[in-house]
């Protein structure tokens, strides 16, 4: 059996929240285990506050888990250099953040950070094509882009590093329905054409059904069900899921 691209083992995360002057520990993720094969597309579906973003942040190592481990190609990511982990596992945030003053700089920044040479498959025009942005935009100031354009640019910026895994944190939640569909199709294409392993986080049940991929339902910090959304929908008797899927 081949080693999974990503293996998450008994992952837990507690955080300290301040309530006035008091500090209280809350459990954000509880005993999460998940395996993702190379080239697979997995949806993480769950309501707001379920811990989805936290899970992605742990995989990109923006945070340390309280317990449990994450393996990339069989190696615990805590034994790898952080910059290498983040190069191999890209993270696209819910709200796109623009870092520079031009599209070109935006796309060469990741290469500069890692001392990577510009080649035919990571130069700005090619990256723009990958995310279906007009190559004529290369010299524009991205702070003036629409949200959808910014999100595509953020996606292209992650792709510049040729990641093996792409973590997408509700990449369409800030977009209108048409732009959302376009981004969904774009990501499906990246998975299909480039074999990119994808973890797609969403709180939107319809979107999960539309994507039609395997899905892990996370509620209150724990994974309760895995499978195709429709099948889970059919078979589950779990109250929390039924509530969430809108049928109780």
């Amino acid at each position: 059996m081949p080693v999974p691209k990503l293996r998450i083992e008994n992952l837990s995360k507690t955080k300290v929240v301040r309530e006035g002057k008091k500090r209280r520990k809350i459990s954000v993720l509880r005993d999460i285990s998940l395996e993702i094969k190379s080239g697979e597309f997995i949806i993480i579906l769950g309501p707001s506050g379920a811990g989805k973003s936290t899970l992605l942040r742990l995989i990109n190592r923006l945070e340390e888990p309280s317990s449990g481990s994450i393996y990339l190609d069989g190696t615990n990511i805590s034994e790898l250099r952080t910059d290498r982990v983040r190069q191999r596992i890209g993270l696209v945030f819910q709200v796109p953040v623009i870092l520079t003053g031009s599209v070109r700089e935006e796309l060469s920044l990741p290469l500069e950070l890692h001392d990577i040479k510009v080649e035919s498959d990571n130069h700005p025009e090619e990256l723009l094509r990958m995310v279906s942005l007009d190559t004529g935009l290369a010299d524009r100031d991205p702070t003036q882009f629409s949200l959808g354009q910014k999100q595509r640019l953020a996606l292209a910026r992650s792709l510049a590093l040729k990641p093996e895994v792409l973590l997408l944190d509700e990449p369409t939640s800030a977009l209108d329905p048409a732009s959302s569909l376009a981004i969904e199709n774009l990501i499906l294409k990246l998975n299909r054409k480039m074999g990119l392993t994808i973890l797609f986080v969403t709180h939107n049940v319809e979107q999960a059904k539309r994507l039609g991929k395997d899905c892990a339902i996370i509620i209150d910090g724990g994974i309760i069900e895995t499978g195709k959304p429709e099948e889970i929908f059919e078979r589950t008797t779990n109250r929390a899921i039924l509530n969430y899927l809108g049928r109780s």
């Binding site: 190592r61 910059d83 983040r86 945030f93 953040v97 920044l109 950070l113 890692h114």
Partner: protein, 251 residues
């Protein structure tokens, strides 16, 4: 004994004017003014006697101890103004020490000044004061920068940038903020206000040209010390904001 303080008593008349003005304007500053008056008097008289004792004894260890105490008070004051910065006291103490010891040390080594406490202590005092302000400004700014640019910083980190790379811009801005007062002061020095050291020397009877010579040395020394302290404070503070795995801490 009191006759020596005749001038001081007369100066009190000036405070009385301020109190009357405050009353008249209903600024309600009378109490603060009076407390300030008493504090300034007590503190300065105490320092006067302490310095006289230190100057007379002229012992290197005592001079060093005095400087260390001044640095500690400076760091404590700086930290008090930037409570939001984790381990601000340690950062301030180290930064103020670096700036002070480097510049005063260099001036001693090159024999620009002698080890006479008459020179060393006032110069150290000025250096520490300026480093204290620079440290406060630098830390205030880096905190605002990092908290305000959290999303941006994490987005760069997520691309694999190091903490240094991710905070480069914030550090630059903070060092500039910390150094702005001394840079501005150098630009207009002598034109708007005669600096303290120079004023003191002229009042004590030195010729203006002689006073200027010392003042030039002092201002260059301060600029150097402030540069060191600013850079050190911002760089040291990064440890409070980032983990060794290039993660932004919760602050």
């Amino acid at each position: 004994m009191l006759t020596g303080y005749y001038q001081v008593l007369m100066a009190l008349v000036l405070i009385a004017v301020a109190v009357v003005l405050s009353r008249w304007q209903r600024a309600r500053l009378e109490k603060d003014l009076l407390v300030g008056t008493v504090r300034a008097f007590v503190q300065l008289v105490a320092i006067g006697y302490a310095l006289e004792f230190i100057f007379d004894l002229n012992h290197p260890l005592l001079i060093l101890l005095t400087i260390v105490i001044m640095m500690t008070v400076g760091a404590y004051t700086a930290a008090g103004r930037v409570r939001e910065v984790p381990s601000a006291f340690g950062i301030a103490l180290l930064s103020i020490s670096l700036g002070t010891f480097f510049t005063i040390g260099l001036m001693l080594l090159t024999r620009i000044i002698s080890t006479d406490p008459k020179y060393v202590i006032p110069l150290a005092g000025m250096t520490i004061g300026n480093c204290m302000i620079a440290t406060t400004l630098g830390l205030e700014r880096i905190h605002a920068e990092i908290v305000g640019k959290k999303e941006k910083i994490e987005a760069i980190l997520a691309l694999g940038a190091s903490s240094r790379q991710a905070s480069l811009e914030s550090c630059c801005v903070s060092v500039r903020a910390a150094m702005t007062p001394i840079v501005n002061m150098m630009k207009v020095i002598g034109l708007v206000q005669l600096p303290g050291a120079m004023t003191g020397m002229i009042l004590a009877g030195a010729s203006p040209v002689e006073a200027v010579r010392i003042q030039i040395v002092v201002i260059y020394m301060l600029a150097s010390a402030v540069g060191i302290a600013s850079l050190s404070a911002t760089r040291l503070s990064l440890r409070s904001y980032f983990t060794k795995f290039h993660q932004l801490r919760e602050v």
